[in-house]
């Protein structure tokens, strides 16, 4: 058994490496702005940083490479994989479609047919089967290491909230990129950062729940890829409708942008706590 001090040390090393990857992008911002090659190389390194931090921390602390949660564990867990595919898609739909319907602009969706919706779903399924592997770089770190170390220290609620915040802040270089390029005001950039801080705990709770249920990072990898892909897919789908360029739904759009994610965070925290309460205690 490792004590809390060891766990804290391991988590500290991991977070330090991950933070360094974010700082690296700020430090080399000018170089990245002037060279596509530098941008590509540093962006790739940044995307793989959580997984690399996992491997480096395990090596440095001589923890070993057990419990990386790399087995697929498909048998008996197919429903979790299906949920990992469906839920981010539903959440993305919930962000965009209900505000349009509730604000009485259903005619904006006229160009969207059942066939086009089905095409998007099938294309995402196909993409998820082959393209999601790129997200291992993130999930192997966040779900495969950080959560495991954070849970004994901060509990489930703490892991979801602190972990979600750390995960959000790690995205700071990409959220601030437009501002640093001088094409956005600081308040707009901070709004993006704040928005992400509200959204990420929802996904953090869901991915933590998936990882614990299946003892594998792969459902989280798939779900992450679908979450990213569905944003583009739904926006492309809406592009087939007749939404005016100056369309602004106001507060209702903001409410639907954040509320599904906050509800998701609450639901999965309750489920995680329920699962924990049901686990028999060992001496």
């Amino acid at each position: 058994m490792t004590n809390k001090k060891d766990t804290l040390k391991r988590l500290g090393i991991y977070l330090l490496i991950v933070a360094a990857s974010s700082v690296m992008l700020f430090a080399f911002f000018k170089w990245m702005a002037s060279s596509e090659t530098a941008f590509f190389l540093l962006a790739e390194l940044f995307c793989a940083a959580p997984a690399l931090a996992n491997l480096i921390t395990r090596k440095v602390t001589k923890e070993g490479f057990r419990d990386m949660k790399l087995h697929l564990h498909l048998t008996g867990n197919l429903r979790y994989y299906l949920l990992a595919f469906a839920l981010p898609l539903v959440c993305t739909f919930m962000m965009y479609i209900p505000p349009i319907l509730l604000s009485g602009h259903s005619e904006w969706l006229n160009g969207i047919t059942p066939a086009s919706v089905l095409t998007v779903i099938l294309m995402l399924a196909a993409q998820g089967a082959v393209m999601s592997v790129g997200l291992v770089g993130e999930e192997l770190g966040w779900r495969g290491y950080m959560n495991q170390k954070m849970e004994p220290l901060a509990g489930i609620v703490g892991t979801v909230l602190i972990g979600g915040a750390v995960w959000s802040l790690w995205h700071l270089p990409s959220d601030m990129q437009v501002y640093l390029a001088g094409k956005q005001t600081l308040s707009e950039a901070l709004q993006t950062v704040g928005g992400r801080l509200l959204i990420m705990p929802g996904y953090a709770a869901f991915y933590l729940w998936l990882t614990k249920r299946t003892d594998s990072v792969w459902p989280a990898v798939l779900s992450h890829a679908i979450g990213n892909g569905s944003q583009t897919a739904v926006i492309e789908l809406l592009g087939q409708g007749s939404i005016p360029e100056s369309a602004d739904l106001g507060v209702i759009a903001d409410v639907f942008h954040y509320v599904p994610m906050i509800v998701m965070a609450a639901v999965f925290i309750i489920m995680l706590l329920h699962d924990k309460a049901g686990t028999p205690r060992t001496a």
Partner: protein
């Protein structure tokens, strides 16, 4: 299961790692032949990609060799994971190899495109548009190869597969010849299928079905494996 993963890694690590090299084939093609064909670098990359795709396919099949022995078949069937566990690890490993090949190709090509942009080459296009469909073709081909290999052994399996492919090709040709008489209606049907949204839907459906076919192939191989073991050499 971890033991089987370890066995596959020890036996096939060079084949697995060679997927990374295959992914670099488009960039290698440009580096090696850029002086001979300096004005057709995009075509060279596409050629390199196809060469890499073929090499990767051959290497993926090679990880199946050596397991078509009767004693191994009996032994693995009696092990705690059973032949189903063994086949599952094989299928997962080959799928992983395909994904590693894609990841490596996209990384190498992304690096090439970035470097080309820095050099002011504005006509460099991303090859992912061709690479991703080819990956689906590769998954489909493997889902055909593996059951044949385990049912009939490596050598006999590849011969029987070849015969089946030729038979299908002949059947398709004959069907096309018969359709010649009614070519207009067939062309109209094809036009209807491959225009606008129906073509996207068809394509999306096909792509989404291929990973499912791969899973079905695993199920089929599980059913055929023990029959195959009886035919393997000692």
């Amino acid at each position: 299961m971890t033991g089987l993963v370890y066995k596959e890694w020890k036996q096939n690590r060079w084949y697995i790692l060679s997927m990374i090299l295959c992914g670099f084939a488009p960039v290698l093609a440009v580096l090696l032949f850029r002086n001979e064909i300096p004005h057709h670098l995009n075509e060279l990359r596409t050629g390199g990609m196809i060469a890499g795709f073929l090499a990767a396919g051959a290497l993926q099949i090679m990880v199946l060799r050596g397991d078509d022995r009767r004693l191994w078949g009996y032994w693995i069937t009696a092990s705690p994971d059973g032949y189903k566990g063994f086949l599952r690890v094989k299928y997962e490993m080959i799928y992983g190899m395909i994904l590693l090949f894609l990841l490596s190709m996209q990384t190498a090509d992304g690096l090439y495109c970035a470097a080309a942009a820095d050099l002011g080459m504005t006509d460099t296009a991303d090859i992912s548009g061709i690479a991703v469909p080819l990956i689906f073709v590769q998954i489909l081909l493997r889902s055909v190869d593996i059951p044949f290999t385990y049912r009939f052994g490596s050598k006999t399996g590849s011969i029987i597969k070849m015969i089946c492919m030729v038979a299908i090709a002949i059947l398709l040709s004959v069907t096309l010849i018969f359709l010649m008489d009614d070519w207009d209606s067939a062309a109209a049907l094809a036009k209807k299928l491959f225009t606008g949204y129906s073509s996207s839907l068809l394509l999306a459906g096909l792509f989404a079905a291929i990973p499912a076919v791969y899973c079905l192939s695993y199920r089929m191989t599980c059913r055929l494996y023990l029959k195959g073991v009886e035919q393997y050499d000692k």
